[in-house]
Each structure stands twice: as structure tokens, then as C-alpha cells.
Amino acid sequence: MREVYVAGIGITSFTRLEYPLVEIAAYPGLMAMKESRIKSIDQLYVANMGASRANRQTGLASAVIDHMSLTPAGAETIENGPASGASAIKQGFLGVASGMYDTVMVIGAERMREVNNLEATDIVASLTHPLVEYIYGVTLPSLAGMFARLYMDKYGVTSRHLGMVAVKNHKHAMDNFYAHLHEEITLEGILDSKDALTNNPMVADPLRYYDCCPVSDGGACLILTTADIAKKTGKPMVRLAGVGQATDTHAVQDRKNPTDLLAVREAAKKSFAMAALKPKDVHVAELHDAFTILEIVESEEVGFFEKGQGHIALQEGYTKLGGKLPINPSGGLKAKGHPVGATGVGQAQEIVLQLRGEAGKRQVKNAKVGFTCNFGGFGNNVVCLTFVREN
């Protein structure tokens, strides 16, 4: 297999965008092509989850490739729930590594806000098992709430720890122009003060308003190429060194151990193995914090901390910018936003920015190894990526 490098990146603001989905997809592609000076590609992968329902557009990649005037290159839409982004990157990686393509563009795009909030929640709820979960009115927040309750009971994680994740990520996002939320919050405002229950109402006990990420629109792009083509861009060489994917039972009730996220564990293991690295080698990570509890649990399952110690590390400040292992320097899904299909690509874009040294105020010093975890469904399909800076 050939080595695969990231030659260009692009991103839109993650917020409510009033542009058609196809444009939300094309814009970051344009940005990536401009910065890499690449004018043609061999294949396009578009990651998206809700286009057929929210935007009434099937075959999204076919629409995007024409919109970007890149025909007759091949194009495919990749749908893997919230893990669509990293899955599309995985396909792009395989295309270049196998020798079949030299230049692959991976775009993630989503425009859920074209429909109202209730409809968007229902689209996301269609990830659940139709016969044993959906019929009960289960939505993703309720699954996260049940999981959080178990975790709090077993390992002593408290609402305060969940609040700390939100406060940290909101703070990080203040320095991220593209983030959805530019809102500094405090533990006093969301938990301690007597008005906290109005500021931060319960959504799915014990998860509260500030424990859940917003619904965002947005797009992001990565261009993956061979070493030679990447060298021509003159940018620092960032290699996609490891890709790992794993699955788990569809219904959350069937998980072997209710407090384990085995798919995360397995996918991370595969990703590190391919990159020939270990969790302790990572300098910066973007984990999937659609709900604040997930950042804590994923940081343990991928191997950064012992099981049950993630919240302690968070408490000690390990995972904030300036700490030993900054997690979600972009603001994570909580503050940067969660345009479902674009998230995985957005995470990768942040890591590449960090490894190139171009992250400005959010820069993690001397970051050479970056890691992302893209969490599909509720932990039943996870894709992890490991990026390495060379030279």
C-alpha cells in the first residue's frame, strides 16, 4: 500500500447556513483546491447522512461533482450515520493507498437546519433499532442519558465533570472562527447558581442542555494524494498513517457490558496498529463529543487514560489547551458544531491544521501526532484516524 498524504483542507462555518446543501459541500472543496493548487481529481467521496430526508437530494455526490465542474471523475456518497465523515476519509485513503487513484477529494456536508428541529431529531433517531428502540420514542439524547447514568453510577463521574467538558470546549471554540457557538460559559452559570436550571434545563436526565451539541449545518474537505503530489503544494507533509473501523450491536441494550464502548476500543486499536504508534504518542486529539459524557468515555476507550479515569484527567486539566493532551482544541462537537456528515472531516481538518502548525491561538505546541474518533450511531460503528507530521 502506498503512503497517503493530506494535500489540502477546507471548511465552512458550522452554524445555520442559508445556502443549498450542494453549495455547502462545494465551498470547502473550492478552498482545498485553492490552497493546494490542485485543479483536477480522480475521485470524490461525499459524506452525508440526512440529504435524502432533510434536503430531498439523493445521489448527493453526483450533484456535487457537477456543481464543482469536476466531471467525469468518479463520485460516491458515503452514509455511515454520524461517522460518515471518517468513513469517507477511509474510502479515500483506500483509493490512494491501493494505487487506484492518485488524487481523492473527500467532502463532508450536512444541512439539517433546512427542516425544523423536531424533524431533524427524528432523522437522527432513525439511527436507532426500529423494532426495539425507535418504537419507544428513543432518541439519541435518551440513549446518551441512559449511558451517562450508568457511567456516573459505576465510575463516579458527576454532572460537574460533564459541565467541565462543556466549559472547556466552549472556551476552545472562542478562538475558532468557524465554530458554531462563540459563547463562554461557566460552571457557576450552568450548574451552581440558583438560575442554573433555567439556563441549563434537563434534556435526558442526567444530561442537560449544555451537555448536548447543537444542530449545525456545515461542510469540510480533505484532499488525499500520493507523497509526490503533496510535496508539490509546499505545505508541511501530513500523512494519514492509521485508519481503523469497528462495529458493535445495533441496539444499545445488547452491548456486552453496558458501560463499555467496544467499537471505539477496537477501532482505535486498529488505527494505532496501522500507524505503528501507541495512544501515549498522541499530542492532540479530536474526539466525538456529541454529548459531553462521550468525550470522557472515548478518552478512556481509545487508550489515553485508564477506564474510569477520564474524568479525573479532565478535572486535573490534562485535556484542555495547554494541558498534557489537549482534546478537542477546535471546540469539539459541543461548541464547534455537529453537521452530522461533515463532522468526521471537520475533525480531520482540525488535526491537519494542528499538525501543520497553522492553528493560530489554538495551536498545540510541537504537535506531531494527531488522532480523531468519529462515533456513528450510538457507539455501534466507529472510525478512528491517526495522522502524523513528517518533516
Binding site: 423536531l118 431529531t121 427524528d122 433517531a125 433499532h129 423494532l131 426495539v132 428502540e133 418504537i135 419507544y136 420514542g137 428513543v138 432518541t139 439524547p141 435518551s142 442519558g145 441512559m146 449511558f147 447514568r149 450508568l150 453510577d153 434545563p201 434537563m202 434534556v203 435526558a204 436526565d205 442526567p206 444530561l207 441496539a251 444499545v252 441494550q253 445488547d254 453496558p258
Partner: protein, 115 residues
């Protein structure tokens, strides 16, 4: 007539799985539909639960109590809890009732009460 929810017992190896899967999770050796149906137990204990505010629009209530219950026969089910103050580990007994309605259909599922 009292309704049941069924699990599926592989005719080859006897492994019981719920929900339905085409291939037996244990032996991977069954033919198409080679399963016997086995009613799920209606007694168990709460593994975890949540109170969901802002439930989906088809529900008229403002708050929905959902849970995962481990049945006496070892299977776990997601369900609605008709229990005002649930606790993890609480013993519960269930019935199969209408759990969701949309314009045309009624959906039946488990509702658990305090035992």
C-alpha cells in the same frame, strides 16, 4: 388476550437472540428462518433509565421515562417505564402495550411497572 414479545431460538444450536437477526449470533450456521419463537419473560430489573424531556412529536407527554431492563431470562430490553421514581436495580414487571402511535399505526412494546 395478553400480548408477548418474542425472542428467537436457533434450531441448530439453541442460542436465544433478541432482537431478530438473520444469522445466529452463536453458531453462524442456521438456514433462513431456522428459529423457534420464545416469549420473553416479563419480569426483570432496571439496568438504567432516563427522563427524556422534548420527546418526539408523536408523543403527547412533555416527559418520557425510558429504560433498559434486564429480564430474568437474561435478555435485555429497551422499554418505557411507567414508574415515577425509578432506581437502578429496581425490580419491575412488564406488560406489552401500545407505546407509540402515529397517524395510521399503533406500535406495541414493553411498558414496565414497579414489581
Amino acid at each position: 388476550m395478553e400480548k408477548n414479545i418474542y425472542a428467537y431460538k436457533c434450531k441448530r444450536c439453541g442460542h436465544v437472540q433478541y432482537p431478530y437477526r438473520t444469522i445466529c449470533r452463536n453458531c453462524h450456521d442456521n438456514d433462513h428462518n431456522e428459529f423457534d419463537i420464545v416469549p420473553l419473560s416479563k419480569k426483570g430489573k432496571i439496568v438504567t433509565f432516563t427522563h427524556l424531556y422534548n420527546p418526539p412529536s408523536d408523543f403527547e407527554t412533555v416527559c418520557l421515562t425510558l429504560g433498559i431492563v434486564e429480564l430474568d431470562d437474561g435478555n435485555r430490553v429497551t422499554c418505557q417505564l411507567n414508574i415515577p421514581k425509578p432506581k437502578m436495580g429496581m425490580k419491575v414487571a412488564g406488560k406489552v402495550e401500545v407505546v407509540r402511535k402515529d397517524e395510521y399505526n399503533k406500535y406495541y412494546g414493553f411498558v414496565f411497572y414497579e414489581a
